[in-house]
């Protein structure tokens, strides 16, 4: 027994790598069909008001323009609000495209032009003449803080802020305090692939929808309920997604538009949004947050107050966990939290990579740095002193928490002990170097997922689940899990996803997929093992007859007697000898809720950052990042590292570059393109080192996996801001830290 089929924890190359480097990987807009026509969306030019007149006659006169859909000619769609609800919908009245003359936010889609060619549709869209009656709009959060109110209703995963102890009293009694306010503007996900949907229409009225989505089942149920179609008529496929980061958690309007046009025109239709229109739906909400920390002179935290006010739309209450982290990350008896919303004339915000934590932990970790300076204490030491072994908000121990190891390993690697705390102490000409650090934290969630597996007589295994791979590596890690569990060479295993006919999986998001779908895949393969053993017992004179599954090892495409490995049988021979074509199973893992309920389940990180600030220009370069991550078992250090690095790039981006700038005069995000909405380019990103610290966890799931999609980003912006303070002595409390703020 060589056991060459152990893959979990190995840096396996992506199984979809070949498809991605050759152009074979097909994304939503890459499908075509005879008679395909193109839809181009017309966006509203005002932020609030009414459409008085919409004149599409000039567009419709063009030969090759099939239809211009507007609220005036779209009818017969679902009545009830429920029908427009999707798996990630916040509470409220969900938006209905093209069904009202009211304009509720700038860039609201108000017409869809469908034509024979893309060029014609694009041109015809410019001919649609709309007259508006504009109303006054409200888009400023800071100008409307007095309208802040508690959120209405609930959203999956939202935890109500909770108080404990007596903040006021403890804060007054504290020897050293800090009281600060941070602000950050909106950010849009901007995946490289603009949202697109291609709908293929068939004569019998059924459709195949290629959608950019983080959940094919979400797309399917939305289409079914809004258009009143049966599941049989709607096939949804999404094998490749060109990034999403949360933007595809909700069905976006290109889906609605493409399906509408296909059904009405009885033709295949493709709709791709423009880059400008990528700023016309969900985003990370504009947020202002205040933190008050009180400590004794020894650094021990006595009181924490964390209050946040975020913007939402007029029709839905988007909520995220911003302040909750302050009740969890450090040991503190007196905690006060508050979270409120202000309704603005924008679209509803949307989960964006590590929603809530990216914002709230930024505030907390900057405030901790400010407190450390007031205490004349090393910022890392302050974190150590207040280390918490339990989640103080729930009074539960962590299922595992190797954060102390993260601090130690990252600090050592970074060289933190050599830091002179004095701001501006590392100066070379006009370049100021600064070192900052922060802690990161995210949830280790499990969501419902099922998987099916089929082992066939040719020795091949096919496993599937209706999950997604948005660049996260789902294809690869699921293939690894399946191959190792059944002991098959990895190239004998195929993992399928992004197909609504596969077994149920929840949306891909929140770093929950590896744990949730991974467990389902593992369980399906374990069930196949059982079935193979019982088949093997049917073989005449079977040496396996008396054995139980615990006495068997699966490896190298064979089933071995563990005690006497010289006795084995090839897995495919089991099927041949028993005249079985295939073994099929479907698994539905049920987490051990009673065991899990006793624990808090989270991932942690410690991130150390070096910046170089040009004193004369105010420009900032992040020259070095070391991040140590405790996220349970790492299934694939190669793809997991990429996830963390990507998260760090996002953290740098949030700290220094990204902001959707609202022009309040027009109520519109004005920098709605890649030239003006800055994200890092290649030259902006320098040395990044990732350390995965060992963390064993048998509570979270049988694989011990906690997920790595979000944790890489959390805390990074704070570490950058803290490093900038160390370099310059300037506390910049609103993101992004652009050069004008440093001059």
């Amino acid at each position: 027994m060589n056991n060459e089929t152990s893959y979990i924890g190995q840096p396996v190359n992506r199984v979809d790598g070949y498809a991605k480097v050759t152009g074979d990987a097909k994304y939503a807009a890459d499908y075509n069909a005879g008679g395909l026509c193109y839809g181009v969306v017309v966006s509203a030019g005002i932020a609030r008001g009414r459409i008085v007149r919409i004149d599409a006659s000039a567009a419709l006169q063009l030969e090759g323009v099939f239809q211009v859909f507007t609220h005036e000619n779209v009818s017969g769609l679902a009545w009830f609000n429920m029908s427009y609800k999707d798996m990630d919908a916040p509470p409220g009245k969900h938006f209905r495209y093209l069904q009202t003359d009211m304009v509720t936010y700038s860039q609201q889609p108000v017409a869809l032009v469908v034509a024979e060619t893309f060029e014609l549709a694009r041109y015809a869209a410019t001919l649609v003449n709309i007259t508006y009656a504009a109303d006054a709009h409200t888009t400023s959060l800071t100008g409307n803080l007095d309208k802040a109110r508690p959120p209405k209703g609930k959203k999956t995963g939202f935890k109500k802020p909770a108080n404990r102890g007596h903040f006021e009293k403890a804060f007054k009694a504290a020897q050293v305090t800090t009281d600060v306010t941070y602000y950050q503007g909106a950010e849009h996900h901007n995946p490289m692939e603009m949202h697109a949907t291609t709908v293929l229409y068939y004569k019998n009225g059924s459709i195949t929808v290629y959608d950019k989505t983080q959940g094919v089942l979400n797309t399917q149920s939305y289409v079914k309920s809004v258009f009143g179609l049966s599941g049989k008529k709607v096939k949804v496929l999404s094998p490749f997604v060109g990034g999403a980061f949360g933007s595809a958690l909700r069905p976006q309007y290109q889906l609605f538009m493409a399906v509408l046009a296909a059904l009405e025109l009885k033709r295949s239709v493709k709709v791709m949004l423009t880059r400008q229109q990528m700023f016309s739906f969900g985003f990370r909400p504009i947020t202002q947050q205040s933190l008050s920390l009180g400590a004794l002179e020894d650094g021990s935290l006595q009181a924490i107050s964390h209050k946040a006010i975020s913007g939402t739309s007029q029709f839905e209450d988007y909520v995220e966990n911003i302040v909750n982290w302050s009740g969890m990350l450090y040991h503190c008896k007196n905690v006060q939290q508050d979270y409120k919303l202000v309704s603005l004339d924008t679209y509803t915000p949307l989960d964006m990579r590590a929603p809530g934590a990216v914002t709230g932990v930024f505030g907390l970790e900057c405030a901790m740095d400010e407190l450390a300076y007031k205490l004349h204490m090393d910022p890392l030491e302050l974190r150590r002193i207040n280390y918490s072994v339990e989640d103080g908000s729930m009074k539960k121990p962590y299922s595992s928490k190797a954060l102390m190891d993260c601090y130690e390993q990252a600090a050592a690697r970074f060289g933190w002990s050599k830091r002179n705390p004095r701001p501006g102490s590392m100066k070379n000409g006009h370049l100021l170097t600064g070192w900052g650090m922060a802690t990161g934290m995210w949830d280790a969630m499990t969501v419902p997922a099922r998987a099916k597996a089929t082992f066939t007589a040719d020795g091949k295994l096919t496993v599937g689940s209706a999950t997604a791979d948005i660049g996260t590596g789902t294809y690869t890690i699921m293939t690894q899990i399946a191959a190792e569990t059944l002991g098959l060479p990895i190239d004998h295993v195929t993992f399928q996803l992004g197909d609504a006919s596969l077994p149920f999986a929840y949306l891909e998001g929140g770093s929950a997929t590896a744990a949730s779908v991974g467990t389902a895949v593992q369980q399906a393969c374990l069930q196949i093992r059982e079935r193979l053993l019982s088949l093997a017992k049917d073989i005449p004179d079977s040496p396996f007859r008396e054995l139980s599954i615990e006495q068997i090892t699966f490896a190298d495409g064979k089933m071995y007697m563990s005690e006497t490995p010289a006795n084995f049988i090839h897995l495919k021979d089991i099927l041949t000898l028993t005249a079985t074509d295939a073994v099929n199973v479907t698994s539905t893992p049920l987490p051990n809720i009673f065991k899990q309920m006793k624990y808090a389940k989270n991932t942690h990180s410690a991130v150390f950052v070096e910046v170089q600030v040009d004193e004369e220009l105010g420009s900032v370069k992040v020259s070095r990042v070391v991040s140590a991550v405790a996220a349970g078992r790492i299934l694939n250090p190669k793809t997991a590292r990429s996830q963390i690095v990507g998260g760090i790039v996002w953290g740098i981006s949030g700290a220094l570059y990204e902001e959707s700038v609202m022009d309040h005069q027009f109520g519109r995000f004005i920098n709605h393109n890649y030239a003006e909405y800055h994200i890092p380019v290649n030259l902006d990103i320098n040395d990044i080192e990732v350390i995965f610290v060992e963390e064993n966890d048998d509570v979270v799931n049988p694989l011990g996996v906690k997920g790595v999609g979000e944790i890489g980003q959390v805390g990074v912006a704070a570490a950058v801001a803290n490093a900038i303070y160390h370099a310059t002595g300037k506390r910049i409390r609103d993101l992004p830290i652009t050069l004008d703020k440093l001059l």
Binding site: G17, G23, A25, E63, M194, R275, Y674
Partner: protein, 166 residues
């Protein structure tokens, strides 16, 4: 506002051009306002080349025209009549990956893969140019290709590895 209401005379506007893409000549009857990117994706139906902005800001649409990298969304197809074009589909030869393609896989130089065809074509163009000497040169000269997944460090490692072997 003055608006053109008369139908566009599609036939009059159509030009016949030849694009040689990945060594195969395609004769296209195409209107002058069709971008090279849309010509490749929608008319020739080679969809490996991606659209990430349609306005020259992201590099996802990078292809090689006569060996030089360009943003195909900023070029009209009719301007390239007779040109020799390589897209991502033509980078591997006879099923054997180009060293850069293999290096991208080995270094995990992508996540979602959407920017990857552009990155690889751009990197081939960069190597053809022969200007990049240092790692910083590669970073600078690859900065026209955005990667929202943030795979930059791995992209640089992949390009550097191939460059060093040349």
């Amino acid at each position: 506002m003055d608006q053109v209401a008369a139908p566009v005379l599609v036939d009059q506007a159509t030009h016949t051009i030849t694009l040689t893409i990945n060594k195969i000549p395609y004769e296209l009857k195409i209107q002058p306002w069709v971008t090279l990117l849309d010509a490749i994706r929608e008319y020739v139906q080679l969809t490996g080349t991606k659209k990430g902005c349609d306005q020259g800001q992201c590099g996802a649409c990078t292809v090689l025209v006569n060996g030089k990298r360009i943003n195909s969304c900023l070029t009209l197809a009719v301007m390239k009549d007779g040109a020799d074009i390589t897209t991502i589909e033509g980078v591997a030869e006879d099923g054997i990956l180009h060293p850069l393609q293999q290096a991208f896989i080995d270094h995990d130089a992508f996540q979602c893969g959407y920017c990857t065809p552009g990155q690889i074509c751009s990197a081939i163009g960069l190597l053809n140019e022969g200007k990049a000497r240092t790692k910083e040169d590669i970073q600078e000269l690859m900065s026209g290709n955005l990667c929202r997944c943030g795979a930059y460090t791995n992209i640089v490692a992949a390009v550097q590895q191939v460059k060093d072997k040349l």
